[in-house]
Assembly symmetry: none
Homo-oligomer: 140 residues x 4
């Protein structure tokens, strides 16, 4: 149960996951964070907004980046140091999001790796991008 | 149900919320994101890590920043544009986190506001910091 | 709060429950088990499968059998010993499942009862069958 | 996003996952299935039972088997045909369960694979065993 060390990573290595974001996801996330902003949980309100319907929390979508970093690339043992995210387009209930991370820079001396992180919807629209910095697990 | 416009905001304005992060929060968040990294849901594994016990997902804690921005300062109608976060210390189950946002820069021309965002635990340790950029609601 | 003893059970005794399986049920169950198989949580992927849409986890449906055994027949105090299940047809979001258990064999000496267990959808299709062996509660 | 075909599987191939079973898991599962048997959600009642405390639903633990079969071995595209489970010992809140599947029989003609399925707690006690039959994905 240990992920890839920095020696096992190369520029361009990538992994991705996909999930259809459901009302359930958004409502549970609202409950955990207390973010019951009407844009997320009030359809009557949301209908009158620019987006015309309830949308998922931006940070909910961003959370899937960590799912890949911590479980697949580099995987268990990874220390998460930094994440930046730009919210580019809304995620509506029922959208299927592809979350992708790709190795962009490797600093072996400091044991740090920078990843390009992107979330794209079923229509090919990038809804979120940004970058992550992690410290991959060291060999036992 | 509308938040503060940029005219109603001043440098240094701040708001905060607090929550005790529970096992329930972490397990539900793991379920939503699929991030069942052993560091979060496997106590036997976690006991052997540097942190000695299961810890919350960093992005779970970061999610509380949006709760304040979208509900209190500036509040409903705010568009979330950017968030950066530095993960500085672990959040353990039962830790009580104070999440604070503070107006750092105001750009009236572009209708953009930069906030300093900080999460501090019950011992005064900063577990997370970073900054947010939002577009406050315009007056109706 | 005690169920039926073996003396109170007869061959052919049966009980049933019904529930409409929702997206919420499937998403929560995915979160608990970590089974975010795309067949369950990715509509884009599922559309291209034989079933054309997301389906519920087979073991989620099977779990309702225990609900009857432990709460109605025989009821509280029952020890669950064995369950076998055959997955015969998919359960789609919105399907209403009737779960039925029926006494098939009684072994008073060993205090064991075998039940025929069946799950049927709203169209009369058997989606799951199998058998359960339990030890009913003994009288106080 | 496709798992292993029958040609890629060998006798003895195995995979495992681990999770600490929380009160949250049990309460959510109780809510989904409606199995609010006092043995699972009533500590006052449970204290007087043979197990002295609330225990997890047997079928909740069994559900993790499908997590491995559908996501790791064989993985996405697998059709679940049959599962048998023997409930051998209780799972208490806070127990860390290792769930393991191992290829036991391969029938290439019928495209069916039988797996030995086992759940073991942190003390090495087998809490559940049984077998699964699946149809691995066919190559595209």
């Amino acid at each position: 149960m240990i992920g890839k060390t920095i020696q096992e990573l190369s520029l361009g290595d990538s992994e991705q996951i996909q999930k259809t974001i459901s009302e359930t996801d958004v409502y549970l996330y609202a409950g955990i964070t207390g973010d019951l902003n009407p844009a997320h949980v009030n359809e009557e309100y949301a209908r009158k907004t620019f987006f015309k319907t309830r949308i998922a929390h931006g940070m909910l979508t961003a959370g899937f980046i960590s799912t890949i970093l911590g479980n697949k690339l580099p995987g268990p043992g990874t220390i998460y140091i930094h994440q930046s995210v730009n919210f580019l387009a809304p995620v509506r209930f029922g959208d299927t999001i592809t979350v992708k991370v790709e190795v962009e820079e490797i600093n072996s001396e400091k044991n740090r790796v920078k990843f390009k992180t992107t979330c794209i919807n079923q229509d090919g629209t990038t809804v979120l991008d940004g970058e992550a910095i992690v410290s991959p697990p060291k060999s036992a």
